[in-house]
Symmetry: C2
Subunit: 304 residues, 2 copies
């Protein structure tokens, strides 16, 4: 079934304790789409992308997305520069400092879905102002399953539209701190239950190296992270998780509890590739067989 992502294409400058990389192709929609493309290979229609870039965006990067089967009909090129982000990670990877954000053309992003995208079945609203996410969602004709990401900023300054969004989507993706901030509950189980009370059928809590869990009225599933021995750059791990998760669902064509559990495993192993390098290269490297290999490995690790 068809899969749509609305988000950012960006150039990132990333500092880790080991390295510094400038102008790496990044952005939520980039990581999501490349991650999801593993599930749409072999003739299936690739993920549809809605995003805006500036005149400075490298044609080769558009070509790289197309080579992954990504449908770029919804990619808008606007006057100005592409969204830029720079950040620095502490040695423990859990602490990330944003050094600089240049919204550029993304500041006035008004997502316009091509006519051909309106029938999308699976929709991922990557992190953006909830007003923008709502405008994008309204352009889809009754999606089968919609998932939104958000961040602390919107919880603080756009609470009302965020609550509106939570009533409209099927699932919300949050990290542990966001779930606590949104609900005022320190205990993650109560925080997740509190988020469910705000409207979505499912909440997915990401805990980085500690894994992720999924909660809904018909499913409670917890999964440790895939054991990666050498993290190179965690940028995009959350969007890669979402891409693997949604990519699998769209391929399976279902989102019942059994599919959601499998999708959590695919999201986790897709993200595990992302963190092993900079940009999209580590996500492009493995074939579907390598993903399935890690799927089986992770299954062996969690099976009692």
């Amino acid at each position: 079934m068809s899969l749509l992502v609305i988000g950012t294409l960006a150039y990132d400058t990333i500092e880790t304790v080991h390295e510094r990389r400038e102008n790496v192709l990044g952005g939520s929609a980039t990581h999501f789409a490349v991650a999801a493309s593993h599930f749409t290979a072999g003739g299936r229609a690739g993920p549809r992308l809605v995003a805006v870039v500036g005149r400075d965006f490298d044609d080769e990067h558009v070509a790289a997305l197309r080579a992954r089967g990504v449908d770029t009909e919804g990619l808008e090129v606007a006057d100005g520069r592409t969204f830029r982000w720079s950040g620095r990670y502490e040695a423990d990877w859990n602490t990330r400092h944003t050094l600089h954000t240049e919204l550029n053309v993304f500041e006035h992003f008004d997502p316009k879905l091509p006519e051909s995208y309106r029938d999308s079945d699976y929709v991922f609203l990557a992190n953006a102002a909830p007003q923008v996410q709502l405008r994008a969602l309204e352009q889809v004709d009754g999606p089968a399953f919609s998932v939104a990401d958000t961040m602390n900023l919107w919880i603080e300054i756009a609470r009302e539209p965020l609550e509106e969004l939570l009533r409209r989507v099927d699932a919300i993706v949050l990290n542990d701190e966001e779930a606590r901030m949104l609900t005022g509950e320190r205990n993650l189980i109560r925080a997740a239950a509190g988020v469910l009370g705000m409207g979505p059928r499912y909440v997915i809590l990401k805990k980085g190296e500690h894994g992720a869990f999924l909660m809904g009225s018909d499913v409670h599933f917890a999964l440790p992270a895939y054991p990666v021995e050498e993290v190179v750059d965690p940028t995009g791990a959350g969007d890669s998780f979402a891409g693997g998760f949604m990519g699998y669902l769209a391929q399976a064509g279902g989102h019942g509890p059994a599919s959601l559990r499998k999708a959590m495993v695919y999201g986790t192993v897709t993200a595990s590739f992302c963190v092993q390098g900079f940009g999209i290269e580590p996500l492009c490297r493995p074939d579907r067989g390598a993903l399935d290999g890690r799927y089986d490995e992770l299954l062996a690790i969690v099976t009692v």
Copy 2:
């Protein structure tokens, strides 16, 4: 098969953000033995205990342990006061401040195993100076499976005897920070591998609310924590985990990879009861059926 614990009986004073409790029956051997007693009920010989208390130790507390089937032949009563500890937990439960430690009779603890304990099959060396742990282990005639706990203090001031201990035991229990400190590796997978390189066949890493994992040459198993909505007091959770883990192994009479995985689940659910109250009361409350109920619940949560 028989199970032995060498550790402390103590009186704890505990402050949480909600409550303060004085002189709560605590100690590593107390929590371990009560946790393990769930697996030795119904006529099986209870866990054997080696510990020292002072003249102030309440007879009723000895009776409470005996009522759980705990063999107290190895309980020494010495002149002086019982070990006392007081601590305060931050709202997130992950940060614990030790306010006061009075070693009292535990300062000169020299574990002496009764003759009847020497044939113990499963042995848990609760946290103590590694020299003391080694002296206790030497008194057991070829145990089938021995596990040790330790703490940051011994990693800092008793590295050499700790390394000797690591060569002698079958498994070591560590929290994430201890594993990092012991190996100098930040990545937990590499830290665990580093610990294995120091001698033990297995390392069990406890991550509190994020669960636990077990690594050895023949097994790699990860498990999230059982979802407890209301933590009252986490004191003793690690020893309760060890008690459930070893209790199950001793009952099963085996410690192959399949048994170790199940033991991890039993350790986790046993610890989940411990944190729901102060002292041993929350560990005594459930019957084996309640433990098995949470075992099945946790299995459902982790099954793909």
